[in-house]
Symmetry: C3
Subunit: 215 residues, 3 copies
Amino acid sequence: MKNSFFSRFTPKEPKFFPLLRQLAEILSDASDTLVESMGHDSPSDRADYYKRIKDFERNGDKLTHTIFDELGTTFITPFDREDIHDLASSIDDVIDGINSCAKRIHIYNPRPISDSGKELALLIQQEAECIIKAMDELETFRKKPAALRGYCAKLHDIENHADDLYELFIKKLFEEEKDCIEIIKIKEIMYELEKTTDAAEHVGKILRNFIVKYA
Amino acid sequence: MKNSFFSRFTPKEPKFFPLLRQLAEILSDASDTLVESMGHDSPSDRADYYKRIKDFERNGDKLTHTIFDELGTTFITPFDREDIHDLASSIDDVIDGINSCAKRIHIYNPRPISDSGKELALLIQQEAECIIKAMDELETFRKKPAALRGYCAKLHDIENHADDLYELFIKKLFEEEKDCIEIIKIKEIMYELEKTTDAAEHVGKILRNFIVKYA
Amino acid sequence: MKNSFFSRFTPKEPKFFPLLRQLAEILSDASDTLVESMGHDSPSDRADYYKRIKDFERNGDKLTHTIFDELGTTFITPFDREDIHDLASSIDDVIDGINSCAKRIHIYNPRPISDSGKELALLIQQEAECIIKAMDELETFRKKPAALRGYCAKLHDIENHADDLYELFIKKLFEEEKDCIEIIKIKEIMYELEKTTDAAEHVGKILRNFIVKYA
């Protein structure tokens, strides 16, 4: 039974740290599945992998909304509401990006993914691991920000590497590939992969603001 | 004559409910015009329809800025300023999306729009109707949120349907169409239509937050 | 040595006006370089110009983060924190857009840029000049908003002109060009140029809100 008076004013145990870690775990699982999917090139395998990743995307969406709802009803939050909101949103955006990558591979059904495409997926996976570890710092970084700062730097470096890899690949694609439809397919998939590494770096930028503001 | 002292401190009659409804009506008119446009395939008809939709887009833009200006000068608002801001913005984004669809049809001038394209336009039209009805709940949902909750659910369902429709169509397009330039045109237009159904669902997400926060 | 007590409560000299002007100057330099780059069509020249513009982009990024950090630590700010945040972000977005244009020219390496492409770059350059002048009004527009209002109107007009130019060009491109791969390259570059003029107009929209709120 809801205690309408006290439930509004008694500080609840803030569940934000485990919820954010759980969201990062969904991201990590999705990125693992994306990496795995790239070794399977039949249309039916691609459809299956997309279905699996879409499930992660939906779970991520639900969990993000749980976090938003908690923010709307919890009396005391460990950081400013909008900061927790932005952090959860930004992690969810990476999951959405992974979903878009798998969707494009499924609906465009290009030739086997290139080594550069696989490498971008591996970079997304590394970023996801980085983000999990960063979530484990949220309770302690106010006093010891060095580890969190390190993860932000790593996210930045990975994204820079992804940029270079993407640019080199697309340059070569337009020099060498003559099949226009294949160019469209590959270009769109590689673009989405690269954009997803950007989205992961954006999580790092938000965490960097946490350090400036709270540490 | 402006009463510079009292005009700042006397609560004004908040005009937000009718203004938001009016914005939703512009959206609805734009979506009707988009649906109608798809039965007219000559370049000059497409140019005309784009011109008409662009007028809606401009009116939507003006009205959105009127709402923003009211927010900046009204002493008492029925919801938090940034919530009204986000709601108006999100409705305007759907109108912008419809404008982009019509623009692409005009400048790419593809073959007659496919049945799937027409169906996506009909889904946008349904979403627009949903959003109008949702605006009519804004004054009362704090006490009776069921109807508004229903519209949010419907926006979500329509968007899911649009997703499936889009994916199936693009998959088939890349399997069957061999004309590369036509693929580019159709793909870009279908992408924009689908993105517009997303934008309409985003209005539903914002309204869902209204329920959590205010009901 | 950090004075932990007083450093938090003593108003610092707000450095926001010169910092924002400096950001606008980076934007202006980047736009000058983009205009210049379009007269140089060899792959190596394009690579060089991209490299130069990427340096501006990185400097813009660093300066934007300096502004964010200042916002987090300065006690008194001349406008609401989030307004300064949005203004700096929006200027940085234009620099990012210019960087994306140069990147696409480098990695797609299309035929020499068309007159319409060059004209779009010139419009971006004009917008950048407008934004510099607007920054010079930030200290005084509360009492004399006319000049700032004029720059906002000019940004709006330039963007409208860019819209028309873009639409006309793309329409003609799809009517006349038969080389599918070249269409992809040109379409993507022109799209990014047009989007960058939008980003510059968005700075104008934010400044318009400053006038409503503070003048």
